[in-house]
């Protein structure tokens, strides 16, 4: 919705309001959807992974699993990594869908743009590969944040303070790596279409 308002003020000067739909769709699919969704999920889920595993480590629950001949990484870490890697692209698609709905509403109902023009721009400029690029990023982001969150939690020491520090570190490192990873992947995708 914000990108529609910002995009409109820029494109309006050149009489290119018809490009609003395409701009929002491309921005969401390739960049905003994967990155913003990943950052939100890092704050919500990544921190929970670290806090939960860290608490289990500090209360010897992970030791208890190992002592019962249950491989803790297989039991606690692997399902979280798989779940994060699979669910982040799905959440990104939902994020993009609602982003587009919001953008459409602002463009058509608030700014008075033609609905056909908005949707036509989306249809004409948004290619399958744009969506694929975004979803590829989401898969990578899901893998990156879940690995970091689980690793920080699994190795958290020092009681409640240690868990708190590990959770902070997990969110900061995950967010930084997602942004760096985004740049790297965007550069690679930019060079390869």
């Amino acid at each position: 919705m914000v990108s529609v308002l910002q995009g409109y003020s820029g494109l309006h000067r050149y009489g290119a309001e018809s490009m609003i739909g395409a701009t929002v769709a491309l921005g969401l699919a390739r960049e905003l959807g994967p990155v913003l969704c990943a950052l939100m999920i890092i704050g919500r889920v990544g921190s929970a992974f670290t806090a939960e595993l860290g608490s289990m480590r500090n209360t010897q629950q992970i030791d208890a699993l190992a002592s019962m001949a249950v491989e803790p990484v297989q039991y606690l870490v692997a399902p979280r990594i798989i779940a994060a890697t699979v669910s982040l692209p799905i959440l990104t698609m939902i994020f993009c869908f609602f982003g587009m709905v919001g953008g459409y509403w602002v463009a058509v109902a608030y700014l008075g743009l033609d609905a056909g023009m908005f949707l036509g721009g989306v249809r004409y400029y948004l290619a399958v590969e744009d969506v694929a690029h975004g979803l590829t990023k989401s898969v990578a982001f899901g893998l990156i944040f879940s690995l970091i969150a689980c690793s920080e939690g699994y190795h958290a020491r020092g009681g409640a303070r240690g868990v708190g520090l590990a959770t902070t570190r997990s969110v900061v490192v995950s967010a930084a790596l997602v942004l760096i990873g985004d740049y790297v992947m965007t550069s690679l995708m930019f060079h390869h279409g």
Binding site: Q61, D63, A64, A66, S67, M68, A69
Partner: protein
């Protein structure tokens, strides 16, 4: 080599950040006995216990279970060995997202190909043994310390293990609950005939139920004997520990800033 020993510890050394916690520890535990490793807080008892169940790797030395070094076992072999063990952790280490019932059922579900009714029967039996059957639907957070220990004990015994380890089973409990826990341990031992290894500084309680005791001090086993031998020992370290005196060779520094 002791033919009746089920666990044998040989020259175990472990240091953390230049501080030697275990300094060439050597002893063996008899099959079917209740053996206690005692010592003051910070003596390295829990560290030793973690080595006995291979949760830590030593700097050097070995722990043999049935004459097989647990540190040179493959992961698969180690897990097979661990299925013969039960562990009651210091704070019970119950899975806080699972109910009392599910905590006790957990190891059975993971390792035994039993039907639901067989699992239910076994869980019921173990919970009844520790008097926690009516609390089966509760979460660990809803239990008192003593209740958590009892559930932890039921879980440790769920697989009918050959060897059960108890890490400070009565720490933080009131005298009545403490006595009840020792009675449960004694009953469980009588019922299963397993090898029970207790790590504790609760000298009164462990002298009551142990067959043999080892005293850990400065990373070494400094005394070993039956409860009578420990109680009557003239060794100043043992005497001070048994009598709980502040005066003696065990220096607990209360003045360090």
């Amino acid at each position: 080599m002791d033919a009746a020993a089920i666990i044998r510890v040989e020259a175990l050394v472990k240091s953390y950040e230049m501080q030697r916690i275990l300094d060439g520890i050597q002893f063996s535990i008899q099959k079917g006995s209740i053996t206690t490793i005692m010592g003051v807080s910070g003596a390295g008892k829990s560290v030793l216990l973690r080595h006995l169940i291979a949760l830590e790797r030593p700097d050097s030395g070995a722990v043999y279970v049935d004459e097989e070094d647990i540190f040179s076992m493959s992961w698969k072999r180690l897990n097979r060995m661990r299925r013969r063990l039960g562990v009651l952790f210091q704070d019970a280490a119950l899975f806080d997202s699972l109910s009392v019932w599910d905590n006790v059922a957990f190891p059975i579900k993971e390792h035994r190909g039993l039907s639901r009714s067989q699992i239910a029967q076994r869980v019921e039996e173990k919970l009844a043994m520790v008097g926690m059957l009516r609390h089966r639907a509760k979460l660990p957070a809803e239990l008192s310390g003593g209740m958590r220990k009892r559930v932890g004990l039921a879980r440790a015994l769920a697989m009918d293990p050959e060897i059960v380890f108890f890490d400070e089973p009565t720490t933080g409990l009131d005298p009545v609950t403490r006595a009840a826990i020792y009675r449960l341990i004694r009953h469980a031992h009588d019922a299963t005939g397993g090898t029970f290894v207790i790590v504790s500084h609760d000298i009164e309680g462990v002298l009551e139920i142990s067959d043999e005791l080892f005293m850990l001090w400065n990373g070494k086993i400094v005394a070993q004997g039956t409860p009578e031998q420990i109680r009557d020992s003239s060794d100043p370290l043992v005497h001070q520990f048994v009598t709980g005196s502040a005066e003696g060779p065990i220096d607990v520094d209360m003045t360090s800033s």
